[in-house]
């Protein structure tokens, strides 16, 4: 359970709980958990379903004590989750768009008729059609698509890392109540 207490301490630090108060809460919590475990009492009986979410537990405790403003607890987590969902959505959309453009987009190098095309001319008495001169039109889209794809992959990777930190199980052996 030391991991649980450590994560609580990290959350208190993040919320700006003064060190003296955080140490007091940490010490009391660690002592209680130790004593409960010595008595053979499941941690869930002591902490309820909070046993599976130390950060929410720590924020709730600090908020209820009036050490941090109310909005710093659950509301901040909710706003953070919404921002993370939006970021993930944008990154996923960028990835899909880039992949679609690369897979089905316009040819990256193509021939286009020149606008300064002279009228078809005749050679001698025999009329023969000479196709207008063409010019090579190189598209700059390909590098942009690849850059978008790379950026989207990096953004999605970063997003996945954030989600893993957000949702990782805090206490592997303590199922939710």
């Amino acid at each position: 359970m030391s991991d649980f207490v450590e994560q609580c301490r990290t959350e208190w630090k993040r919320l700006g709980v003064p060190d003296s108060i955080a140490e007091e809460m940490q010490s009391d919590l660690a002592s209680d958990i130790r004593e409960a475990e010595a008595d053979g009492v499941a941690v869930e009986e002591l902490l309820g379903s909070s046993a599976s979410d130390p950060r929410a537990f720590a924020a709730s405790w600090a908020t209820e004590r009036g050490i941090v403003p109310m909005r710093s607890g659950r509301a901040n987590r909710r706003r953070g989750r919404i921002a993370l969902i939006a970021f993930t959505g944008v990154a996923a959309t960028a990835l899909i768009v880039a992949a679609l453009l690369l897979a089905t987009g316009e040819p990256k190098v193509g021939l286009a008729p020149s606008r300064a095309t002279p009228p078809p001319h005749f050679l001698g008495a025999t009329a023969s059609f000479v196709p207008p001169p063409s010019r090579v039109q190189a598209s700059a889209a390909a590098p942009i698509e690849w850059m978008l794809l790379c950026l989207a992959i990096v953004a999605l990777g970063f997003s996945a890392w954030l989600w893993s930190r957000w949702d990782r199980p805090r206490v592997p052996t303590a199922p939710a109540q």
């Binding site: 919590l29 309820g48 379903s49 909070s50 004590r65 009036g66």
Partner: protein, 119 residues
């Protein structure tokens, strides 16, 4: 599914009266966090539901319903002990009165029901 619904109701009911329960066990004598959990269990409340007593103790402290002090526990490290303040005793008296009134009213509504769960 039904079990989950029952647990949810149990938690909801507890949420409204757990503060009174804590004040009640503290009225028997000062206690630290885990000691309160033990007293609750001895009185038949083995689970505190979704929440935990710690945030609730924080709220009681913030509202001035409990006084706190640090003292050595039995052979263990110093602990933070809680005891009801005068405002806390008043809140306990009011809360117990409200609980009994609510319980009686709900009992009156539920008394005619003859359906029982067969286990």
């Amino acid at each position: 599914m039904q079990c989950m619904a029952n647990e949810g109701r149990h938690s909801q009911m507890l949420r409204g009266v757990l503060d009174i329960c804590l004040l009640a066990v503290l009225d028997a004598g000062p206690a630290y966090g885990y000691e309160m959990t033990k007293r609750l269990r001895e009185r038949g409340l083995a689970s505190v539901g979704e929440g935990s007593i710690y945030p609730l103790l924080g709220r009681l402290e913030r509202d001035g319903l409990v006084d706190t002090y640090r003292a050595a526990s039995n052979g263990g490290p110093p602990r933070k002990y809680y005891r009801p303040s005068s405002a806390g005793r008043l809140a306990l008296a009011v809360g117990v009165s409200e609980w009994r009134a609510a319980r009686d009213a709900i009992d009156a509504v539920l008394a005619p029901v003859k359906i029982e769960v067969v286990s």
